[in-house]
Symmetry: C2
DNA sequence: CGAATGATTGACGAATATCAAGCTGCGTGG
DNA sequence: CCACGCAGCTTGATATTCGTCAATCATTCG
């Protein structure tokens, strides 16, 4: 096959730019920790990284395993979760491009993670990555920022799980999805939900059936329109916000 | 009144040691971020800090307010929480000596906090503190460590709120309290709970009544013994662990 | 086309919330 | 010193939300 124009451009950049090709192409770069680095530093980071592709439903890390690597998600959607011995599962969050995976307080991962869609990630061996953290204070600062942001999100979710009704939980979830950068077309308010109803249920502390009922209820009252699987249109964001905040009757 | 021996010792230390008296006396020092600092660095940190006493039920910070200061709890117990407009409240956690309060991803606090018991805290103006973070990488590292630890705790709590029954939640809570350093006499397994049943309920996503019923149920089955208010004795930790993990019938 | 996976809907039941009454211990003031 | 009141806690009766079980539908993929 003949090289396309894009191939030629990329080949040209590869020869002329100092930044490795993989980072050059990376759509998640501006949203990820890499953004904090100079070109020279980025090269060092790329030098210790390996690209990794993960198929849907394949595991990336397992709760309790030795934390040997950290990951920067560059494409696709990941679910992180904790589980009880009897199989009950709580999905902590859904990660997308730019999100960082694997930060743990000890020697072991505190959550499991697997791919929902086909996922691409940059993999950093822990030792080398931690050495770079010390060498590049901006990197550590950015990672700290991301971690404390994740903490605030977890606190939000605690309020949702501890004190909100099923309808409030789903409304909160849909709004959180809307506010995720890049996930939505601002004007059309069209949302894509790559996870199943069961995943949403395990994230919201509900059952699949209750989630489904709430989707139907929202659709019936005109707040949303349920499209083909994985797609939802937000018809009335204000009302959704009222519901999420417990203000709707 | 004549000076006691302790007074004299402290006075002596004050004159001979480079570390400010307040830090010298601080019981929380070994558990707090201060532990990461050399004596010279600790002096710098102390120089920007002010001691603050807070009476029970008084507010320390308010969710949404500009985050102008950070706090290191040195004595007492603090509850942090988020609230809904209609008054529903989710207690995020209970902080004690050595815990750090006020880390927020943006310009505003992400939680409210108030004192349960009489509280003492070191207060650091945000600007100055952040300057020291940059100057002392070990301080930033330690704070990062504490924050990622808090994140792991929040993830635990998400599993508890999303997927555990009332009995499992209370058992999990009691065990978490036991594992907090310094809170317990290891052998006697005697626990003190400075918070009310309503506080525990707001932490576990339950009502006060349900929490009370579960305490009674545990006491009846001999897992715990309820002492004077604020004190509980753990009679059978293994069984409590089974309950917390969902293994008890 | 048929099987499999995910989603929806309905009937019923269980866990927990709500409402209500009474108990306990403590500080206060007559 | 004791009665009172208050705050926190406990216990009971009833209500409600959401989970469980089950049947059906829709879509995709072999």
């Amino acid at each position: 096959m003949n090289p396309t124009e894009t191939d030629l451009v990329l080949e040209f950049r590869k020869r002329t730019s100092a930044v490795p090709l993989r980072c050059e192409r990376c759509g998640a770069r501006s949203q990820s920790i890499c953004d904090a680095l100079s070109e020279r530093e980025l090269q060092k980071l790329a030098a210790i990284s390996g690209a990794q592709a993960v198929a849907p439903n394949r595991t990336i890390i397992d709760e309790g395993d030795p934390a040997q690597a950290l990951f920067n998600i560059t494409a696709g959607t990941v679910r992180t979760y904790r589980a009880l011995p009897d199989g009950r599962r709580q999905i902590i969050g859904f990660l997308g491009p730019g999100d960082f995976l694997g930060v743990a307080p000890g020697e072991r991962y505190s959550v499991s993670a697997d791919a929902i869609t086909p996922v691409e990630a940059c993999r950093f061996p822990k030792r080398e990555f931690e050495a770079l953290l010390k060498a590049f204070p901006k990197l550590e600062e950015r990672l700290f920022q991301k971690t404390s942001n994740e903490l605030a999100l977890a606190q939000d979710q605690l309020l949702t799980l501890g004190r909100k009704t099923a309808a409030e939980r789903l409304a909160t979830f849909l709004l959180a999805r809307m506010n995720k950068r890049g996930c939505q077309d601002k004007t059309a308010h069209c949302l894509d939900l790559p996870m199943t109803r069961a995943d949403i249920a395990d994230h919201l502390g509900l059952t699949m059936e209750t989630v489904s009922r709430m989707f139907s209820k929202f659709a019936e009252s005109g707040v949303i329109a349920v499209g083909p699987p994985g797609r939802v249109e937000i018809k009335n964001k204000d009302r959704l916000e009222d519901i999420a905040g417990g203000l709707a009757i």
